[in-house]
């Protein structure tokens, strides 16, 4: 195998532009009246904060911009929000739910 073509772990930074890949669907489920993430062989239930973050992941906004948008919504220091958003998105990237 060509070493150079090996896929690498996606690392989320402040300038990353996170988005949901085509095969991940964030969908409101009328039966259970909540939002669900549909992924290959998995259904994930985002909590309200994760949902707020995911709904801002449009491939246009940077992680920094997402954190800034949430700072207006949540009463917490912006650098802490940035850190928490980055950690959450890294976790989701490792699960294959986020691309950037």
């Amino acid at each position: 195998m060509n070493k150079g073509s090996e896929p690498e772990r996606l690392l989320i930074g402040v300038d990353s532009l996170p988005a949901l890949p085509r095969h991940i669907k964030l969908r409101h489920d009328p039966t259970r009246n909540r939002w669900m993430i549909l992924a290959p062989e998995r259904v994930l239930m985002p909590d309200p904060i994760a949902l707020d973050i995911l709904q801002l992941c449009d491939g246009q906004r940077s992680v920094a911009a997402i954190a800034a948008a949430l700072a207006g919504q949540y009463a917490a220091p912006e650098e802490r929000i940035l850190r928490d958003v980055t950690n959450l998105l890294q976790d989701l990237a490792d699960k294959g739910v986020i691309t950037a």
Partner: protein
């Protein structure tokens, strides 16, 4: 407050409606894997549901709360109407997952399925070694074709899962199987130790790994997960013959998954027909909603009220639901016993002994999966 949100990754099974529909479109399959999850009595092509009935089943499933559709078989691509079924699923907002051996697909057909709205492709491989893989599937040239289909899947930008059933005759190649998944660009790899029901139970002696092999495979997976974090998600299904606690089979009977067989029988689990005395309703006679909520087969082992000791008073009863009903029936003669995989079961020592003794002997020849009329020992 903190935005350190954690995703709840528990399956949403406690919400009263099934999340997943396993649609066994057909039992026809060109492969003859000796651990096939289909029943020993394979259903015939002329009994299969029509396109119209399948489309109606999908509509009923979506209405009932199903979010994910697993198109399985047999080999689902045998059905010429697969495109129509996928298109219907997409129009209903169901997440569609094609579980295929791949060997019958052409690139054009795969493109067509993608264009109809297929969300995800899962391709099985029998080994990383082509000759051994083809021997296990009893299908010449199958492995090479699967790799080709996997590459088309990536080229069409469809997400790919590789599924590798593991047993004593391929477990030594686990590192190479993981490498193959990375090389093919799969996002997910399912390493599933064979579960012993139906065909696999018939071939148990030829398939059962040793305890040491199982432990080594678990270590290897743990290492690979760390090394491949963010590159490949690895799901690992352990064999329960060497376990202390049973697996929460299907996430609990009648809790999260609904299975429809090629002829329309509705099952709480794809192996449920191995349990004597259960009667299954058919989608041709009753609605999916009615069957899910009221049918005797779904009610039989739902929740915990059917349990006897040691399950009834067990602290884990609401977590593992007593384990697998089919395994309890097959090994102990009663489906209301604890799964013998549990060390609280009086059958556990005998259960573990079977695995040890079978794994310690040279592997028997496979009994390949075949329809009853042309079955012979291979």
């Amino acid at each position: 407050m903190s935005v350190a949100a954690e995703l709840d990754t528990q399956p949403a099974t406690a919400l009263g409606a099934p999340l997943g529909l396993l649609a066994e479109l057909t039992h026809r399959c060109p492969l003859q894997c000796p651990y096939c999850s289909n029943p020993l009595n394979l259903e015939r092509a002329h009994d299969e549901l029509s396109t119209e009935v399948w489309c109606e089943v999908l509509a009923q499933a979506a209405e009932l709360g199903v979010l994910q559709l697993h198109l399985s078989g047999g080999e689902p691509t045998v059905r010429r109407d697969l495109t129509q079924i996928i298109a219907r699923a997409a129009s209903l907002g169901l997440y569609s997952n094609l579980i295929t051996a791949g060997v019958l697909l052409t690139r054009e057909r795969l493109e067509e399925l993608a264009a109809c709205g297929l969300d995800h492709v899962q391709i099985s491989v029998q080994d990383s070694d082509a000759a051994n893989a083809d021997r296990i599937a009893h299908y010449a040239g199958g492995h090479r074709k699967k790799l080709e289909v996997a590459r088309w899947t990536k080229a069409l930008d469809l997400p790919l899962t590789l599924n590798a059933p593991i047993h004593r005759q391929n477990i030594a190649n686990l590192p190479a199987i993981i490498a193959l998944a990375v090389e093919l660009g799969a996002q997910r790899l399912e390493v599933a130790h064979v579960q012993y029901y139906g065909w696999a139970l018939k071939n148990r002696q030829a398939l059962m790994p040793t305890r040491e092999q199982v432990l080594a495979s678990a270590e290897l997976i743990a290492e690979a997960r760390t090394k491949l974090r963010g590159v490949l998600v690895i799901d690992f299904v352990v064999p329960d013959y060497y376990a202390r606690r049973p697996k929460p089979c299907m996430g609990g009977w009648g809790r999260g998954i609904i299975t429809v067989t090629p002829s329309g029988r509705v099952l709480p689990c794809h192996a449920a027909q191995t349990i004597d005395g259960l009667e299954f309703d058919n989608v041709r006679d009753r609605s999916l909603r009615e069957i899910w909520s009221k049918s005797a087969a779904f009610q039989a082992f739902r929740g915990t009220t059917w349990m006897r000791e040691p399950c009834r008073s067990c602290e884990f009863r609401g977590l593992d639901w007593g384990g697998c009903r089919c395994q309890a029936f097959a090994f102990t003669g009663s489906a209301t016993n604890a799964d013998p995989a549990c060390d609280k079961s009086g059958f556990h020592a005998a259960f573990t002994d079977v695995a040890r003794s079978e794994a310690g002997r040279p592997a028997a020849a496979f009994t390949y999966r075949r329809p009853r009329s042309d079955r012979r020992v291979g």
